[in-house]
Symmetry: C2
Subunit: 222 residues, 2 copies
């Protein structure tokens, strides 16, 4: 059965998924890049940017499997780009260049309609409005037998968590303080009761935590 | 040199130090007791309540040293008790019975004056108003050569952190979601830059994190 997953989502010790003042030059906000340093210390993180460097181990195990078994991705508009409001003036096609690393359909949440954007290598961006349940359903359709990944950002994941739509989430607790920014966990309320921790492992750099919805008795080993 | 310390302070995966609706029956709020389960699984946590049970190991190492080298404690009024407003009608003497486990001066922050309360076993509660800096200074005076512990709750620790008064803080990250409640980290702002992680260790139950102010080059091994 296909699952709705979050993988490799980093938060600071004080709970922020991005620092303050996110913009084109600081897509993760001030200080937010610290949250991803662990990725660029891994072998797979370096391969992603075409470099032959980095180490293997726990962090690399997690990051190298980021796309494994995934047939569609959902992301918030702010993860797709820094453009706000209507798209009319923009020819923005995402942060990832002409061949984005998804290689499958990507559903971008936005209140502003825009035709699908077909990129090289099998990635097509679909710009979708409406209830999160409907978007998730469309993504499952597109993914076929495969899983659907919620890529981020924090507000998109939060929306899915509050509706208890996420089956499994892999968080990376980075031992830094950002002081302010955008939180991942904010007023989950009763939906928090629907989740439990199924794995927790410290690497030398970070702590990996996996949580699963309680009805997923089949929560899979990674 | 004496230090201002926080020890064994538990927060949930979503950053809460207490659940919602704290009152006399739920001093840690709804679900908040989950944050302290790790303590009652340790040998020293059981000894604290007069029981010969619990296990040794990392968690016990931390918890058994909770009072080591401490000459005074600071706590917020809500940690002292559930009474709000003026004390006049109350004969509340704390959660800890006739012989509290501090055995040294304890400074309780309150806007409502009250004479000191001398308990058995060397604990005296002083009820103090005014700037946090002045309270910390009085506690250092009372502690002599020893360290001062900020016992909690979250808002008292936050007040000390924002003023960068805390030298070292030991946090316990408990892998549960509470959904709502009282946060430890809230708008630290620039004071976050003054701290760094100096230790992080996973036990089977929780993750221990120690942070220290950057000017504490002598951050001590535990």
């Amino acid at each position: 059965m296909s699952r709705l997953l979050v993988r490799n989502f980093s938060i600071s010790l004080d709970g922020y998924a991005a620092g303050p003042d996110q913009d084109l030059n600081n897509p993760l906000g001030l200080g937010g890049a610290k949250l991803h340093e662990w990725i660029f210390a891994t072998r797979s993180g370096n391969q992603m940017i075409g470099r032959d460097a980095g180490s293997e181990g726990i962090d690399d195990d997690f990051f190298s499997k980021r796309g494994s078994g995934v047939g569609a991705t959902i992301m918030g508009r702010n993860m797709f780009g820094p453009v706000r409001g209507p798209w009319s003036e923009s020819n923005w096609t995402g942060w990832w260049g002409e061949e984005p690393p998804f290689h499958h359909p990507v559903f971008v949440l936005t209140h502003h309609p825009r035709p699908p954007l077909e990129m090289r290598g099998g990635t097509t961006f679909y710009f979708v409005d409406g209830e999160i349940e409907a978007v998730v359903s469309a993504a499952f359709q597109a993914a076929g037998e495969l899983d659907v990944l919620v890529g981020g950002g924090a507000s998109t994941i939060r929306q899915c968590l509050r509706a208890s739509l996420i089956d499994e989430m892999h968080l990376v607790l980075v031992p830094v303080l950002l002081g302010s920014g955008e939180r991942l966990f904010e007023d989950l309320g009763a939906s928090a009761d629907n989740y439990r921790c199924i794995e927790r492992v410290c690497s030398p750099a970070v702590t990996h935590v996996r949580i699963a919805r309680n009805d997923r008795d089949d929560a899979t080993p990674r």
